[in-house]
C-alpha cells in the first residue's frame, strides 16, 4: 500500500509536504480520488500538481466510488468486504461503514443525498441504502449481475444495467417498481443520464456499442459503434461514459482498446480517439469540465485529458487495478 507514497516522497519531498499541509484545508484545488481494486486502497491526488497526497487503506476490493452531496465524504463499494465504507475527506480516514447487501460493485446517490442505490452483483438485486440511518430500506429484483447505476436529475427514475441479462431496467424510485426494460447489446456496464434528462446512454462492454435510450419512450434511438484502424474489434469494449453538461460532447472509455472515444453527442458521430493507458475503465470531469480523468486498470495509472484541446496531457501512477475515479472540489 505505501509504495506510491514512498516513491512520491523520495521524488517530491518538498512539494508533497506542502500538498499534505494544504490537504487538511478544504476549498482548495480539486482532489482526485481513485479506487484501486487490487491494492485495497484509495489514492488521493492533488488536482493541480497531480502529486499523490495520500494512499488510504480501505476494505477488500474497492470498486465503485461516489461523492456525498455535501462533498465531505466519499462512499466506497468494498466488494469483497460486502459493505460500503465512508471516507471522511477532511481527515482522509474511514469513519463509518454502511450495509450494502452482498458483493456491492457500484452505486449511485439520490440527488437529495439521502440514499445510495447499490448493485449487488452476486445477488441479482439493487439495494436501497438510507445513508443517515445506515440501513437497507429496500431491495429491488433486477436481472443477472446488476452493474451500472444512473439516476435521473430529478431523482425519480433509476436506471440499472444487468450484465448477463443485457438490459437497462428503468426503476421508479418512489414505488421501487421496474417500469421498463430495454434490451441493449451484451454486457451493459454504465448508464449515464444527460443533464437535460432526455436520454440515457448505456455502454455495452462485449457488444462493443453505446445505446442511446430516449428516457421518455424507452426506445433505443441510436447505437454508437466504434472502429479504430489497427485495433481488433473484439478489444473495443466500451465502459465509462462522461457527458458534458451542455450535451454537446460525450467521452467513452473503450477498455482494452486503450482509447477514449470523443463523440458528438448531438449527431452521435465519433470525432476522435484519444490514446490513454491500458484498459481504460471509468471517467470523471473536473468541476469546470476542462479536464477529464481516466482510470487505466492494466497500466495502473490515470490519464489526464485536456478537454478543450482534446489532448492527453499526462499520466499519473496510482495503485494496482485502478477502477473508479471521482473529483472532489
Amino acid at each position: 500500500m505505501p509504495s506510491e507514497m514512498t516513491a512520491a516522497r523520495a521524488r517530491l519531498a518538498a512539494p508533497l509536504l506542502i500538498a499534505l499541509l494544504c490537504a487538511a484545508r478544504p476549498a482548495l484545488a480539486e482532489r482526485l480520488l481513485v479506487s484501486n481494486e487490487k491494492d485495497n486502497t484509495i489514492t488521493v491526488v492533488d488536482g493541480k500538481s497531480l502529486a499523490v497526497i495520500k494512499t488510504v487503506p480501505v476494505g477488500a476490493r474497492p470498486r465503485g466510488i461516489i461523492l456525498s452531496k455535501d462533498g465531505k465524504s466519499l462512499y466506497i463499494c468494498t466488494s469483497d468486504a460486502d459493505h460500503i465504507e465512508e471516507l471522511d475527506l477532511a481527515s482522509l480516514t474511514v469513519t463509518r461503514t454502511l450495509p450494502s447487501g452482498p458483493d456491492p460493485e457500484t452505486f449511485t446517490i439520490s440527488p437529495d443525498g439521502k440514499y445510495l442505490y447499490v448493485s449487488n452483483e452476486n445477488d441479482n438485486r439493487v439495494s436501497v441504502v438510507d445513508i443517515a440511518e445506515a440501513r437497507i430500506t429496500s431491495e429491488i429484483a433486477v436481472g443477472v449481475e446488476p452493474e451500472g447505476m444512473g439516476i435521473s436529475p430529478d431523482g425519480k427514475t433509476l436506471v440499472n444495467t444487468s450484465e448477463t441479462t443485457s438490459m437497462a431496467h428503468f426503476i421508479d424510485t418512489a414505488s421501487h417498481e421496474v417500469t421498463a426494460n430495454v434490451l441493449v447489446d451484451s454486457r451493459p456496464r454504465v448508464a449515464k443520464w444527460t443533464a437535460d434528462a432526455a436520454q440515457v446512454w448505456v455502454s455495452s462492454e462485449v457488444g462493443g456499442s453505446v445505446s442511446v435510450i430516449d428516457a421518455a419512450t424507452h426506445q433505443v434511438v441510436k447505437k454508437i459503434r466504434f472502429a479504430i484502424p489497427g485495433v481488433a474489434t473484439e478489444s473495443i469494449q466500451p465502459v465509462g461514459i462522461a457527458l458534458t453538461g451542455d450535451r454537446k460532447t460525450a467521452f467513452v472509455a473503450l477498455g482494452p482498446a486503450n482509447r477514449v472515444a470523443v463523440v458528438d453527442a448531438q449527431t452521435f458521430e465519433v470525432r476522435k480517439y484519444l490514446l490513454v493507458g491500458q484498459r481504460v475503465w471509468q471517467l470523471a470531469f473536473s468541476p469546470d469540465e476542462q479536464r477529464l480523468y481516466t482510470t487505466n486498470g492494466v497500466s495502473n495509472d490515470m490519464s489526464v485529458i485536456d478537454v478543450p484541446a482534446l489532448k492527453v496531457t499526462k499520466s499519473v501512477p496510482v495503485g494496482r487495478l485502478p477502477w473508479g475515479v471521482v473529483v472532489a472540489p
Partner: protein, 404 residues
C-alpha cells in the same frame, strides 16, 4: 426418459405475469408469457477414474451448466415475458437416447442441447425427425463434426480439438518455444488430440522433434515405491531428445500427470496436462468470470467443467436468441442463432458467434494450469482479415464442411 418438473419455471412465469401490468404501458409485449421449449438430451457416460485421486469425475457435469444457464435465461425472460422450459432427458444407452429424441420430436420439440458422442450425435442429426430441429452440441470436440461430418442442423459450443491445439501452438510460437516432443496415448481421443497438435504445429511453424506413443503400463502404480518405476520410465523415455516443451495427448488423464518433473531434461509439459488449452478453467476469473464461477459453485457445490460451460453456453445462446430476436418460436430462434445479429457474452471479454461455414462457436481459448491462468489465445499479433478469433480452428477457406 426422465422429465424434470422445474418449479422455478412456474415462479418466473407468475412473476412475469405480475409485472406485466406495470410494463404494458411502455412496451407492446404479448398478453401472456410465451414459452421457449427446449430439451437437454444426453447419454450418461461412465466416467473412468483419472490418474490423480484429487479430481474425482462428477456424475452430473453438463446438466449442471444447463441448469445454471436456464436460471439466467429465466431471469432475463421474466422482464420480457418469456418463460423457459427445459426438458431433461439423460439416457443410459444409445438406443434410449434415440427413443427419447424421437418421442420429444414427436411432441413438437425442435431445440435440443446435446451431450452426446460424435457418432450418436450424427445418427440423430440424420434422422428424418431432426430435419427442421436444431441440435446445440454442448460437449463434443471432434474435428470431424466440423469437417466432413458437419450438419446444417448442428451447432457446436465447445472449441474443437483443432482450436485447442491452435491456441497452444500460438502461445508456444509467441514464447519462441519452437521444438516440441509429442507424446500420445493409445485411446481414440488421444490419437485425435495428437493429430490436431500435428496439424496446428505445422500451421504455426512449431517443429515436432519427436512423436512418440506412450505404451508404458505401470500396473499397480499406487503401491509403495511405484513412483521409482514411473520416474525411471519417464527419464528413459525422454532421454536424448532436444526439445523445448513436452506436449502430451492424454484425454482420459491416464498418464499425462506422470510426465512433469520426471523427464531427463527440465522441460515444461503442456497439452491435456500441465499447461492446458481449454474452454473453461478453475483458476479463471477475468472478464467477470468470477461471477459465473461463484454462481456455479453455489448451485452445484463443485467447480465448473468444460462440459458444464458448453451446456451453459448452449442454453444461454438459446436465451439470447429468444430475447434479442423477440420470439420464442424455435424456427425464429434457430434463425437468429445463425444471423449476424447474434452475440453471446460468455465471460471471455469477446462477443461470440457461430461460424457460418461449420456451425462452430468462435471463442477465445484459455491456457491454464491447475492453479493459474497463464494466457488466453488468440495471441496478440496473429491477425485475421475478419475476426482474430478465426485464427483458432479451421477457417473458411480451409473448411471441408459443405453445409447442406
Amino acid at each position: 426418459m426422465r422429465v424434470r418438473f422445474d418449479p422455478r419455471a412456474v415462479v418466473f412465469a407468475i412473476s412475469g405475469l405480475a409485472c406485466l401490468a406495470s410494463a404494458q404501458a411502455q412496451t407492446s409485449a404479448p398478453p401472456a408469457s410465451a414459452t421457449v421449449k427446449f430439451a437437454y438430451l444426453a447419454l450418461a457416460t461412465k466416467r473412468i477414474l483419472p490418474l490423480s485421486y484429487l479430481d474425482q469425475p462428477p456424475t452430473d457435469d453438463g446438466i449442471q451448466g444447463a441448469r445454471l444457464g436456464l436460471a439466467d435465461d429465466e431471469t432475463t425472460g421474466r422482464f420480457i415475458h418469456q418463460a423457459y422450459h427445459l426438458t431433461e432427458a439423460i439416457e443410459p444407452d444409445a438406443a434410449a437416447v434415440l427413443a427419447a429424441f424421437k418421442s420429444l420430436a414427436a411432441a413438437g420439440q425442435k431445440l435440443f442441447v446435446t451431450d452426446l458422442p460424435a457418432d450418436l450425435l450424427l445418427q440423430i442429426a440424420d434422422l428424418p425427425e431432426a430435419k427442421d430441429a436444431t441440435l446445440l452440441d454442448a460437449t463434443a470436440q471432434d474435428d470431424g463434426l466440423r469437417a466432413g461430418g458437419c450438419r446444417a442442423n448442428v451447432l457446436h459450443l465447445l472449441p474443437s480439438r483443432a482450436m485447442l491445439a491452435d491456441a497452444l501452438m500460438q502461445y508456444l510460437a509467441v514464447k519462441k518455444w519452437r521444438n516440441i516432443l509429442l507424446v500420445g496415448g493409445p485411446d481414440p481421443g488421444d490419437k485425435a488430440y495428437a493429430e490436431a497438435i500435428r496439424h496446428a504445429a505445422a500451421k504455426f511453424q512449431i517443429h515436432i522433434v519427436a512423436d512418440k506413443p506412450w505404451t508404458y503400463d505401470p500396473g499397480a502404480r499406487r503401491t509403495d515405491t511405484g513412483h521409482y518405476a514411473i520416474e525411471a520410465e519417464v527419464a528413459r523415455f525422454t532421454q536424448g531428445i532436444d526439445y523445448d516443451v513436452l506436449v502430451v495427448a492424454d484425454e482420459g488423464d491416464n498418464f499425462g500427470d506422470d510426465l512433469s518433473y520426471r523427464a531427463t531434461d527440465p522441460r515444461p509439459v503442456a497439452g491435456t496436462q500441465g499447461l492446458v488449452p481449454s474452454a473453461w478453467a478453475r483458476p479463471f476469473e477475468q472478464w467477470g468470470g468470477t461471477q459465473l464461477q461463484s454462481r456455479f459453485l453455489k448451485q452445484a457445490a463443485r467447480w465448473m467443467t468444460d462440459r458444464d460451460y458448453g451446456a451453459w453456453m448452449a442454453v444461454r445462446a438459446v436465451g439470447e436468441a429468444a430475447a434479442h430476436g423477440s420470439s420464442t418460436d424455435p424456427q425464429a430462434i434457430a434463425g437468429f442463432l445463425r444471423s449476424p445479429d447474434f452475440e453471446l457474452a460468455a465471460f471471455k471479454g469477446a462477443r461470440l458467434s457461430f461460424r457460418s461455414w461449420d456451425g462452430q462457436l468462435r471463442q477465445p481459448v484459455l491456457l491454464a494450469d491447475a492453479r493459474s491462468l497463464v494466457s488466453v489465445s488468440p495471441q496478440p499479433g496473429f491477425l485475421h482479415q475478419f475476426s482474430e478469433l478465426d485464427t483458432l480452428g479451421v477457417d473458411q477457406p480451409e473448411s471441408s464442411c459443405h453445409l447442406k
